[in-house]
């Protein structure tokens, strides 16, 4: 058993119905992990001080990689030597986070032996985050991980670990192969992930449909979101069953007794009001549908996305530093997404080239587009302007024209002008 520190405040977090990380960590501390005991001790100190106790950064890593490890040192190492070094390793998760226990135990075993035994399942980007290793353990951990078929994810000004929703593995609405796209991009761009060479970080996330279960539109520089082009598939028999109250609303999300009122709950809440229900059949004016998923969500047994599927590509989401948070913006309304995803990758390469060339240090692509204008970006990626790219056209009259657009060009002769107009 490791040397336990008194943690009266943290102990309060052992109460209550939600699983307690404190209890869990104590258990491993009691099983002998100093890092666990000291982490709790230092956290207790933070609770007392109301300030964190980690030093700023620290450049550590594994050979040949520019990222994947975040250095961390205690600023009270004398008190808590077990967390004097407390580096994290970001281990690239398998797409959509299914695990065979035998494979996961490979990582657990390494981590129990060489690290703190504490980890995040998962980090916000999607990695398995192994929390707390000493510097000297980093290389051995890396060697053991790769030997077992695991690799590190991204950090720094690099491609970050792509992530995706569960998709076709278990969801009926996936319009694209989220996992394959995620894996394919990860493999294709290993170099971009492991050797930071860009102005700043870049993230891909892949949602199978507009429900956005991996939140790509809020959290990725490039959001790949499944959608469809043709009509929503309707099973009118199931519609009747919903109407009769034989199937509960919204796949049971509100309990099995929640009946669906097709007119009020579906048609009236359809954002484009393109649905109508005559008491028997449900009609959709698919041309006007914006594929928001609401009706499908509410009637999963009656409605399904169409079959001519592909993705909408949106670009630019990021957290607030510096210009304020952004969501991704629609750039490619529809693109087919069949392996090996050449058309998409072409787009990606053009986008990166432009960003690489024009981006300032620590400028995300969304900010660069903001600074340079969506027009410039479209030119760089060779796309035509489309009203779908904007919520609304400009309302300010400040249009920039290029010289070649204006007959006679920009050069004028003041003398000629003055011949017509006295001063």
């Amino acid at each position: 058993m490791a040397k336990m520190h008194p943690t009266p405040m943290l102990d309060e977090l052992e109460k209550g119905p939600w699983p307690s990380f404190v209890t869990d960590i104590k258990r491993l501390a009691e099983a002998g992990k100093d890092a666990c005991a000291d982490l709790l001790g230092q956290l207790e100190l933070s609770y007392k001080d109301k300030e964190g106790h980690w030093k700023h950064g620290g450049i550590v890593g594994v050979l040949g990689y520019g990222g994947g490890v975040i250095g961390r040192y205690s600023d009270v190492p004398d008190l808590f030597p077990g967390v004097e070094h407390f580096h994290t390793l970001r281990v690239n998760q398998p797409a959509s986070k299914f695990y065979k226990t035998e494979r996961l135990r490979e990582v657990m075993d390494i981590w129990e032996r060489r690290g703190s035994g504490m980890l995040n399942m998962h980090g916000s980007t999607g990695d398995m985050v192994l929390l707390g290793a000493f510097t000297e353990e980093l290389e051995p951990i890396f060697a053991e991980l790769t030997a077992k078929g695991w690799d590190l994810g991204g950090s720094g000004s690099a491609l970050r670990t792509p992530a995706c929703c569960v998709g076709k593995a278990r969801c009926e609405w996936a319009c694209i192969d989220t996992q394959d796209i995620c894996y394919d991009l990860t493999m294709e761009f290993q170099d971009e992930m492991h050797r930071p060479a860009w102005p700043y970080k870049f993230k891909f996330k892949v949602d199978g449909c507009p429900n956005g279960c991996v939140a790509s539109i809020a959290r990725s520089d490039c959001s790949i979101i499944g959608t469809w082009k043709d009509d929503i598939r309707i099973d009118q028999e199931a519609v009747a069953a919903y109407a009769a109250g034989e199937i509960c609303a919204n796949g049971g999300a509100h309990g099995p007794d929640t009946k669906l009122d097709i007119q009020a709950d579906v048609c009236d809440l359809c954002p484009t009001r393109c649905m109508s229900y005559d008491g028997k059949k449900l009609y959709i004016d698919n041309k006007e549908c914006t594929r928001c998923m609401h009706c499908i969500n509410l009637m999963p047994q009656a409605l399904r996305p169409g079959t001519e599927t592909g993705a909408s590509i949106l670009v630019g989401a990021k957290a607030p530093i510096l210009e304020g948070a952004q969501m991704s913006s629609l750039i490619i309304p529809f693109i087919p997404m069949e392996a090996p995803y050449e058309e998409f990758k072409d787009f990606v390469e053009k986008m990166w080239d432009w960003w690489d060339e024009n981006g300032k240090n620590r400028e995300r692509i969304g900010e660069l587009i903001q600074r340079k204008g969506l027009q410039e970006f479209l030119k760089a990626v060779e796309l035509e302007p489309d009203p779908r790219m904007v919520k609304e056209p400009r309302y300010n009259p400040y249009i920039f024209y290029q010289e070649d657009e204006v007959p006679g060009g920009f050069e004028r002769d003041i003398k000629e002008y003055r011949k017509r107009h006295a001063r």
């Binding site: 990380f21 258990r27 982490l39 690239n92 494979r103 996961l104 539109i217 919204n250 989401a317 957290a319």
Partner: protein, 357 residues
């Protein structure tokens, strides 16, 4: 070095699949939520898959993970998954196994079922005092305290719609909280304290200066040290300077705390995705259980639960009733800090006579 293995990427996804996922890949037809935490997915051929979702702490030890693996070995052909919100999903292919699995989970005690449908699911969060160097708050502690309090909404379907709560411990927002129904955000409120004696050794002064979005940082000579000074008037406590320069820490017991944001969403369902908006600018850090934060979140959640129509997300509800009503029904104070004054502020002003008394 020669035989160093690099750039192999993660294991391929299908290496991690049990046979029934392989067999039914892309064939799913519909799903049903049988009870809080239990999903059924059915294929076009009528194959049925049952999923039990359990609350994940995210920050866990290999011991806890081993518990999970054991259950997966015993009931789920040695396979399970994590959701995008750090919950744990166990899958079985018939109802008998389902019942046995549920019992095993109940017995475990640390894997509460829930998180499906119109509920409060797990709180996406970040490192806090457990690992990061820039936090204004802890992450795991507040999450535990809030989830304890809202547990009744975790394993039930009694809310008008999904409520997604997220936490980020500083303005870097690693939790990408900016589009959450309720966002818990760690905020600093004091300008960096500057370590003039070391700044020039540890940081590049031009980089430090350039890091500031409001140009609050200027070069300065202090006590003969080449250093910088911060115009406190212009500082909005974003912490970007500290990210670039360790000699400018922001953390402060009295300055730091929590801001709450509401009404964001990510899905495109019905309404377009929305940003979360400021509800409460500041609540002090109250370890260990952040009582005021917990209470305030409950107040907001209950106002929503009472006021919203079914299928209406938090932001949709607020947009329908109006922000003036939101502040009325939650009894939260509207202050000058709620009024935007950053670069796009003008787009948030009310250019209309439409408002409610």
């Amino acid at each position: 070095m020669a035989d160093r293995i690099t750039d192999i990427g993660p294991p391929k996804y299908d290496e991690m699949w049990p046979q029934y996922i392989k067999d039914n890949y892309g064939k799913w037809k519909y799903h049903e939520i049988l009870e809080p935490g239990v999903l059924k997915h059915v294929t076009e051929d009528g194959f049925e898959l049952f999923t039990v979702r359990c609350g994940g702490t995210r920050l866990m030890t290999t011991l806890h993970l081993e518990d999970i693996c054991k259950i997966a070995d015993q009931y789920c052909d040695g396979c399970f998954r994590f959701t995008t919100r750090n919950n744990i999903e166990f899958m079985v292919t018939d109802t008998e196994k389902l019942e046995a699995l549920k019992k095993a989970l109940d017995d475990n005690g640390n894997l509460p079922k829930g998180g499906t449908g119109a509920c409060v699911t797990n709180i996406v969060h970040t490192q806090g005092w457990v690992h990061c160097h820039t936090p204004a708050i802890d992450a795991s502690g507040p999450v535990k305290a809030v989830m304890d309090d809202l547990f009744e909404y975790w394993n039930s379907h009694k809310l008008p719609a999904q409520v997604r709560i997220s936490l980020a411990c500083c303005l870097n927002m690693c939790g990408a909280v900016h589009c959450s129904d309720i966002a818990i955000l760690g905020v600093h409120r004091k300008p960096p304290v500057i370590e003039h004696s070391h700044l020039d050794k540890i940081c590049e002064i031009p980089t430090a200066i350039a890091s500031c979005p409001t140009a609050a940082i200027k070069p300065a000579k202090v006590d003969d040290y080449k250093s910088v000074q911060v115009n406190a008037e212009r500082c909005m406590f974003c912490g970007n300077c500290y990210t670039m320069c360790p000699s400018m820490p922001l953390a402060d017991a009295e300055g730091d705390g929590i801001a709450l944001w509401v009404g964001g969403k990510v899905s495109n369902s019905r309404t377009m995705p929305m940003f979360s908006k400021l509800a409460v600018p500041y609540i002090p850090n109250e370890p260990p259980r952040w009582d005021t934060t917990v209470k305030t979140i409950r107040t907001i959640l209950e106002a929503y639960a009472n006021g919203a129509n079914r299928y209406e997300r938090m932001g949709e509800w607020i947009n329908r009733i109006g922000w003036e009503r939101f502040f009325e029904v939650t009894e939260l104070e509207f202050t000058e800090h709620h009024i935007d004054d950053y670069r796009l502020a003008v787009t948030t002003w009310r250019n209309s006579t439409q408002f409610k008394f």
